[in-house]
Symmetry: C3
Subunit: 348 residues, 3 copies
C-alpha cells in the first residue's frame, strides 16, 4: 500500500458519504496578524478587543473568512486533490464566531454526483461543516468541484444533482451570540454609513488597488494548510500554458473584502455566502480592484444585513463597475463574482 | 453622498481641528513575530519576556517603532491620502510602553497650515497622539506633509507655521515605569558597550546589509493598516516615472534600526524621535545599509540616553559614512536621516 | 575598540571554550503561525492544542525544528560569521518540548578544532545547547563549520577532532514528558500508517513540490534572528558567481519536512538529528521536492521511532528517488541529505 495520499477520484465518491478531514487547527493571534499583513483589512470588530467588547463579544473574533479558509483547506486533500476546476459555493452560513484559541475540525458530506458526458470527469457536490472544540458548528457551506476519474470505464452507480438555494434566506442568518451594536462607535469604525443609508441597487467603487506577490499568496495558502499543488509547484506549473502558479481563490476573496472597507466600513461581519465564482484566473503581480452592489436588505432586529455582490478585477479600476454582459460572459479582467450577507449596524 | 472616503484636501483642514482616526488595533504576539520576521531585530528587551522581567517590566514590551507605525497608519486616511510628500517628523515622545494585548487608538490635532505659493498644495502640520485602552498616552509626535488642494481657487483663512523643537530635551524623556537596568545581562544583550563607552561625535558603521522584497514591505505596511496607495497599487504606480511601488518610509526606519544592533546592541529602546527625513525614495530589491552618529548624551539617572543620528543607504555600504554635503544635499544612495534618543544602560 | 561585532576567526577559538550566545527569545503563537505560513506543515500534534492534549501534553508544542532554528540562529554571530561553509550536524537530541511562552537561550562549547593544510581556514566543532527559562535543556547538537583565519600566520596550539556518533542510539531518545499516543486519532492525523507499517529500507516519494520565494526565506531566517549575510545582503551577493542570496539550509530542512507529511503523516515529532548535509546550494524560485527512506526502527515502549533519511531536491520530482552514486557524489539537483529519528505511534 502506498503511504502517499493519491486523493479521491470521481468514482471514489458515494452519495451520502461523510469524509472526516485531517489536521485539526488551533487558531491564534498569529493567524490574525498574518491575515492583517496579507490583506490589510481595517474592520474594527476584528481589529480591536475593546471594540469587540463594546459590541457584546468576549474579545475580537477572527474574521469569518479566516475560519472559512482554514476549513476549506482541510477539505482539499480529500475533495479536490484531483480537481480540474473549483466551480462554485452556495448555502454558506457562519453559525458561531471563532476566537483565538479555538480549534477547528471539518467534515464533508457528498450531496451530489454528476458524471460529465465525456466520462473523464464528474462534478462532486459536498456540504462541508466546520466545528470548534466544543462540537459547535462554526460554519457550513456547499462547494462543487469538477474531479477527474481515475478510469474512464468506471461506472457511477448513483448520481444526483442537489437543489441549492440561490441565496441564504435572511431568516436563516445567525448573529454572534451577544452581539450588540447599540453603542456602536461610528468614528472608530471609520464611517457613519448605517444600514439605513444603503439602497438596493446601489453600487460602490472601492477605489483602492492592491497587488499580491507570489510570496504573499503562498504564505496565505500554506497558513490555511491548503496543499493544492497549483498554488505552489512552479516546476509543474511551468508546463501549463500560463506557466504560472495559480493564486488560491480565497486570497482574491479576502483581498477584495479588505478593499471593500472603503465604502462598506461597517459591513465587515460576513454572515453568509450565497454564492461565488472565480470567473477568471488570477496570477501574482496584477493589481486587484473591487466594487460592490447592494442586492438586498434585511432587518434582523438587533442590526441590519446587506446582501452584497463583491466583484473583483485585475489591473482594471472599477469606477465604471466592470460586469458580465447580457449573455453572462465576463470581461477577462473580472476575476471574482461573490455574493454574501453582512451584518450592518442600524442608526437606531 | 459617496460612501468611499475621498480623504481630506488642504482646504479641508482647520487650525486647531482634532481628527479622531478610525480602526482601533489590539497588538499581539503575532505582530511581534511579524516584526521580527520582517526586519530581524535582536534587541533583547523586546525579544525575551525573561530579559524584560529582569529589567523591571511585566513582560517584553513591543518595540516602540511598532506602536509608532500602527499609530501612523491610522492617520493616513485622514491626513495623507492626498499627500504629495511626507516632509518630516519632530517632537516624537514615547510615554508609556505597549504590551501585547494593548489596544491603540489615535487622534491628530492640526497645529499648522501653510499654503504653497503655487496655490495647488499646502503643508499640514499635525500633532498625533496614540493612546492605549486605559486612556494613557503611549506616544505623541508631530508630522508635516504636503497635501493637494481640491480646488486651486479655495481660500485658506487662517495659516500658521508651528515652532518645533530641533530635538526633544533630555529632561522630557520618559522611561518605561519600573525600568531597572541594575542587573543588566550584557552577555545576553550581545555586547558590553555601556552608556559610558559612547562619545559624542562617534560614528559607527553597522556593516550588515539587508534587501527588502515587495512582499515584505507590503506585508509590513498592511500590518499597520496603512493604506497609502503608493505602497500597493502597482497598476497606478506603473504610470509614475519610477514605475515602482514606493516603500513606506517606516519600513526603512525599522530595517535600519534593526541593522543598528551591530554596534548599538544596548540602545534598542527608542525614547524620542527628534526628527526624520526620507531624503530619497527606496524601492524593493535594493540592499539597505546604515551607520549611526552619536549626537548627544544625557544621564537620566536610572540609565543613560544617547541622541543618535541613523543614516540609511541603498546599495551602498557605509564604511565611509555617506552623508549630506556642505550645502545639505544628500548623495542619491542616502535614503534616511533619522534623529532619535535611545536608552542605554550605564556600567554603573 | 570597534563596537561592530567582527565575529570570531578560526584562531580565536580554543578547545573547551564555552560561548554564551546573545539575544534570549520568547517563542509565541506568532512564531507558530509564521512557521505554518512559511512551510505549510500539517502534523496534527503541532497544529492543534486539542490533539496535543489528547496526546498527554499541556498544549500544542512548537515543532522541534522551530526550536532548532532559533537556537542555531543565536550561534551564528559567534560561530559562523566568518564561515566558508556549514559542513554538518550530528548528535542532535530534543530533550524537552518547547511551548509558546517559553524563552530560549543558547551556549556552545568548542569540542574540536582542525586547521586545514592551506592554513587559511580550519574546521570548528561546537556542541550547542539550548535551554528554556527554567534552565532545562531543550536541545543539544553538534555542528561543524569551516571558518576563515584572520591571519594565515596564526599558530593553532591545540587541535583535536571529536569522535561523533554516526547516529543517536535509540536508547538515548527522549520522549516529551507525558506523551501518550494510546488514544491517537488516526483520522484527524491524516493517515492510518502506524509504526508497524513501516519497513527498514522502504522509500517514500512525497510527491508534492513547493517553491520558495526570496521574501519567504528572508522572513524565516530573520524570524530566527540568524544574521548570516549570505541570506540577506544582495549587494554583496551580486559579486558571487551565483549572483544570488543563498537560502538558509534550515529553510530547506523545514520545507522538506513539511512535504514529508504526504507519506509520513504520523512521524512529525523529531526526536533526534543524526546528521545532515546541504549537498548543493538552493536559491529562491526553484521548486523543492523530497523523498524519505526508513533507515532503522526502534520500539520505545510508549511509541515507536523511525530513523529516516530525508532527501530534498530542487526542480526535480522524486518518483525515482534521486540519490548519491556509488562514489558518494550527489546529482546537482539534490540539495539536502538529512538523517533523523521521529516518534511514530504504534497501532497497539
Amino acid at each position: 500500500m502506498s503511504k502517499t495520499d493519491p486523493g479521491n477520484y470521481f468514482e471514489d465518491f458515494r452519495l451520502g458519504q461523510v469524509l472526516a478531514h485531517a489536521t485539526p487547527r488551533t487558531l491564534t493571534a498569529g493567524d490574525v496578524a498574518l491575515y492583517t499583513a496579507l490583506y490589510g483589512p481595517r474592520f474594527a470588530l476584528f481589529s480591536s478587543d475593546e471594540f469587540a467588547r463594546a459590541s457584546g463579544l468576549a474579545a475580537a473574533p477572527v474574521d469569518p473568512l479566516i475560519a472559512f479558509h482554514v476549513v476549506f483547506g482541510k477539505t482539499v486533500p480529500d475533495i479536490s486533490l484531483n480537481a480540474v476546476a473549483n466551480l462554485g459555493y452556495a448555502e454558506g452560513r457562519f453559525l458561531s464566531p471563532v476566537f483565538p484559541g479555538d480549534t477547528l475540525t471539518a467534515t464533508s458530506e457528498v450531496i451530489g454526483l454528476k458524471e460529465n458526458s465525456n466520462r473523464k470527469t464528474g462534478v462532486v457536490y459536498v456540504r462541508t461543516t466546520g466545528k470548534n472544540q466544543r462540537g459547535e458548528t462554526v460554519l457550513s457551506y456547499v462547494r462543487w468541484v469538477m474531479v477527474r476519474k481515475r478510469s474512464e470505464a468506471a461506472e457511477i452507480a448513483e448520481q444526483s444533482t442537489p437543489q441549492l438555494a440561490s441565496a441564504v434566506a435572511a431568516s436563516d442568518l445567525v448573529l454572534p451570540k451577544g452581539l450588540d451594536f447599540s453603542g456602536y462607535d461610528w468614528t472608530l469604525a471609520g464611517a457613519p454609513h448605517a444600514f439605513e443609508d444603503y439602497a438596493v441597487g446601489e453600487k460602490i467603487d472601492h477605489v483602492d488597488g492592491m497587488a499580491i506577490e507570489e510570496a504573499e499568496h503562498q504564505m496565505a495558502t500554506r497558513l490555511y494548510q491548503n496543499t493544492a499543488k497549483v498554488h505552489f509547484n512552479q516546476f509543474e506549473r511551468a508546463k501549463d500554458p500560463s506557466g504560472r502558479r495559480l493564486v488560491y481563490g480565497g486570497v482574491v476573496i479576502s483581498t477584495a473584502k479588505a478593499l471593500s472597507f472603503n465604502g462598506l466600513q461597517n459591513a465587515g461581519l460576513v454572515l453568509a455566502i450565497n454564492g461565488g465564482r472565480h470567473v477568471n484566473p488570477y496570477f501574482a503581480g496584477a493589481t486587484v480592484f473591487a466594487w460592490s452592489e447592494v442586492l438586498d436588505k434585511a432587518d434582523l432586529g438587533a442590526c441590519g444585513a446587506l446582501r452584497l455582490r463583491l466583484v473583483a478585477t485585475k489591473d482594471r479600476p472599477c469606477a465604471d463597475f466592470p460586469d458580465k454582459d447580457s449573455t453572462g460572459a465576463y470581461p477577462p479582467e473580472v476575476i471574482l463574482d461573490f455574493d454574501y450577507w453582512a451584518a450592518v449596524p442600524k442608526r437606531g
